[in-house]
């Protein structure tokens, strides 16, 4: 069998799908094209028990293709308007993969502002649901451009999503309701399961060195004992991704739509 050609976006979709493995019957929310395709692929392969919506207001048992649907008719199985999403969040029955603007060494995230809060350099969306999502259920991160601008050296400018920084918590606050999954970036897959929740690289994408990840991360990262290469998509997975993304929107998510299999020179150029 020949190894199929695949793009970096497709590699990241497969890596994102792994984040949703063994989660149980939770609502899988992939925000953005690559996370959404990852969650959809998870449901179509190893984790059919996941709950999923049409990204609007209905539950579906068959993930809906992204983009214009043509002849495709969604098969609805239930109703999930925003208010019910909130109810689900508070009960902790969800795993969201989100794309924060900044992430720090404590896995805290920022979606609000860059710079001084009262007169920000850049005002973004606002904290949205991050405070509530992050303290109530599992959250993973999607980072299309792994850099020190995203993985910042100090604390994020406005802590919108909770993390592991002890000073932010009192002893009487419940911390067991939060959880951090993985960060799927264009260089690697990381988690925060090192000693004292240190950031840990669990797999490197083809052609990426650990040193290159460290150089592009604003805080120290460690290598997982089982550090290996991120799994390449199989032919079956690629066919399903094609079916879920018939308009190839995935090709537009990463700058230049790089190949998944690259040499170290190509990665670092």
């Amino acid at each position: 069998m020949t190894t199929p050609n695949y793009s970096l976006a497709e590699l990241m979709i497969v890596a994102a799908s792994e984040a949703f493995r063994d989660n149980g019957e939770v609502l899988a929310s992939g925000l953005g094209i690559i996370p959404r395709l990852g969650a959809s692929l998870a449901k179509m392969t190893h984790s059919p028990e996941l709950l999923m919506t049409d990204s609007e207001a209905f539950l579906v048992e068959e993930p809906i293709p992204v983009g214009p649907r043509g002849e495709y008719q969604p098969k609805y199985s239930g109703y999930m308007p925003f208010e019910r999403i909130f109810d689900n969040v508070w009960g902790g029955q969800r795993h969201a993969m989100v794309g924060p603007t900044q992430i720090d060494r404590w896995a805290q995230t920022n979606l609000s502002v860059i710079g001084d809060y009262h007169k920000p350099k850049v005002a973004m969306l606002g904290v949205r649901g991050l405070p509530g999502n992050s303290i109530n259920h599992l959250n993973s991160f999607f980072v299309p451009s792994h850099s020190k601008r995203v993985f910042v050296e100090g604390e994020v400018d406005m802590v919108s999503g909770v993390g592991f920084k002890p000073e932010r918590w009192s002893e009487s606050m419940r911390k067991d309701t939060m959880g951090i999954g993985v960060a799927v970036t264009d260089l690697c897959v990381m988690d925060f399961k090192g000693p004292d929740n240190a950031a840990r690289v669990i797999s490197l994408h083809p052609g990426v060195s650990f040193e290159h990840v460290q150089e592009n991360t604003g805080f120290p990262v460690i290598q997982a004992e089982s550090l290996g290469q991120t799994a390449a998509p199989t032919a079956v997975q690629l066919a399903l991704i094609e079916q879920l993304d018939p308009h190839n929107l995935r090709a537009k998510q990463l700058k230049g739509n790089p190949a998944g299999s690259r040499t170290q020179e190509e990665v670092e150029s």
Binding site: D54, S55, E56, A57, F58, G67, P68, R69, P81, F82, E83, F86, V89, W90, Q108, S112, V113, Y117, H118, K119, P120, K121, V122, A123, M124, L125, G126, V127, R128, G129, L130, P131, G132, S134, I135, N136, M158, V159, S160, G161, V162, G163, K165, R168, W169, S170, S172, M173, R174, T177
Partner: protein
Amino acid sequence: MNKQMTSAEAVGHLKDGMTIGFGGWGPRRKPMAIVREILRSDVKDLTVVAFGGPEVGMLCAAGKVKKLIFGFATLDAIPLEPYFRKARQAGTLDVMELDEGLFQWGLKAAAMRVPFLPARAGLATDVLTYNPDLKMVRSPYEDGEELLAMPALYLDYAFVHVNRADRLGNTLVTGVDAYFDHHVVRAAKHAIVSAEVVEEKLELDKETARFNTFERSLVTGVVEARFGAHPTICSPDYGWDMKHLKEYSDGAKDDQGWGVYFEKYVQGGEEKYREQNGGEEHLASIPVPTF
């Protein structure tokens, strides 16, 4: 029991410094005809409460907003609301930035007439840092858990846009999501509903009556506003007008942009607004987007 009024009569009730809330969600089913009426009025120093879309940006651009209570402001397909961003970056806007769920909790506390509701959302984040007025509460039970006491968000006026209404204040939201309009309405002393169609009296079958999401006793005014949510989505009647939103958004790059927009689209009233946007037939044909 006839609560029908014009949008000018509805907005005429507003006084400087009032707290007003809007239904809808981002660029979805916002009471924009009412917003345009507010833009034409002299009212100022408003505290605006919303899951924000273009209404937030426009009211900021017009200098009507003293304080914004929000979880986000976005046009979705255009992620950053341009005039919200401008006001925020100028450092002139007083803000109470909340988690989306806390926001709902504040409205619900007001609706229940309790001073606060406990929540976990917001703990261990800068939502606490930058809202020093938010206080903590400890569970009086054995667990002793420390929680955030989300204060009631009382509104003087609520404005929501619905698909159908009658003169009595009965309403139907036939789009796929009722959002949080019922919470906004319940948190307010007065609630004004604008509707695509206002009938004498709704006469419905059981299936259709389920699209009613709050009782008419909460409604103090009903305004007929065909295409009253434009340029936001009013599913299933019409979609968002991306061409219009792009023009609005691009205008923010220019110092004169808001003035140009106001003159072209707001100043002349709703009939002219519909003409400027291609006429009723065109507006009705704008497709609802797929997500």
